[in-house]
Symmetry: C2
Amino acid sequence: MSLNENKNHNVPESHPRYSSLKYRHKIIEGMKNLVVAEAGLIAHGRGECFDYIIGEKTTKTAKNAIKAALAVLLTAERPVISVNGNVAALVPNELVVLSKILNIPLEINLFYAKKGRIEAITEVLKNAGATNIKGTNEDAMTELSGLESNRRKVNFIAKADVVMVPLEDGDRTEALKKLNKIVIAIDLNPISRTALWADITIVDNIIRVIPEMIETANKFKKLSTNELNQIINNFDNKLNIQKTLDLIIEHITKQKEEAFKILEG
Amino acid sequence: MSLNENKNHNVPESHPRYSSLKYRHKIIEGMKNLVVAEAGLIAHGRGECFDYIIGEKTTKTAKNAIKAALAVLLTAERPVISVNGNVAALVPNELVVLSKILNIPLEINLFYAKKGRIEAITEVLKNAGATNIKGTNEDAMTELSGLESNRRKVNFIAKADVVMVPLEDGDRTEALKKLNKIVIAIDLNPISRTALWADITIVDNIIRVIPEMIETANKFKKLSTNELNQIINNFDNKLNIQKTLDLIIEHITKQKEEAFKILEG
């Protein structure tokens, strides 16, 4: 049998790295369809490694951040979810379900501008059932101050009070914070600039976060504003990130003993 | 200013991430030239993250592993350095210098077979001055037992006593070990299967490792076989990996306090 990269999706479901390889394939396909930037592949690899050191599971601290995020999104006046190429390639269907449950628009916002990319991502989102997509018309965009990259061109984000930024670059989170927006970040690197600047940082893999958010959204829709505000007030992002780092340290400490067991087999 | 991925190499040298962005650009260019597989971009990203958690420097434990590796390479009978696409894209010149100092062949060995890749990598190595390149003629290859991937097709590696495998997949290291080869791995993930299976595991970024190896090789060429054997005997790979994990834990613990300082600026 001769392997090549186009056969990655033929990996059997029993393979220990099945899920990881499946999403790796989605990202590579995304690049071929213009949805994902080349640097998006490298970013995906960084994510794989950070996921590995949190144990490839949704931690207790991530669950706390997800709850706080939902409470913020449900009490916001003009929330929006920013979408980049990797997010569109990895979890388009889940993202659309979440945006509909919360009645929040999706805004395409890209670091790497390239002819045809916005259109390619729009198509992916539409195929997933999205009906409320912003950021598709460059002529209607305004520019965020304090930001040089292509990320500065925004539409609904300019007037939003809460912006959820999955898989973000640090510059934009800082710019959004300086414009007094509330930022919810999904970032596997707990000490990236985005993670540190955000009001709520969900340190977890997007492929687990969005389904967990959908479940939590359905539950939290029954809560009162008072109850939601209490959840927000009880959440301390800095402390939560530090606890996440403690979990990473615990995980690595455990690996220090257990990793070598594979040699005994 | 509008950014796009083709301008990454225009990043000013003063940029805090200059080195990281420069090598990211080399990898993306490598993909465009067939040298690097698409999955190689994702692998590079994983490496960036692991490098980040060791502090982006050559640690004391990496230096110990490099010394042991050189002692092994200098006392080996038929050593060889395996070369894949990422290595050829990142450090071709340095690799050729090392192979010449040690008088060791470079053998191209790829996980992802694709028409024209071997030729593209051969050209990169030749342009870097390589004169002793193996693995270029598919007809002359034999197959390693215990390995299903394209990595099984080898040339000089089949008869080598010591194989240095930079940026490796786990299956092959295990197969090489089962054939009683001595394996020297360069892998930023200290608990990858390659890292655990290898006899000597250098947990460090290839862009720092090869220059460090060149320097050490020049020094160690003056040592006697006895002195080199002593260096080998004093090296404990498992212990060295565990100490590397301790360094990672120390680094993350430090980040836990220091990371948030950027918010105070």
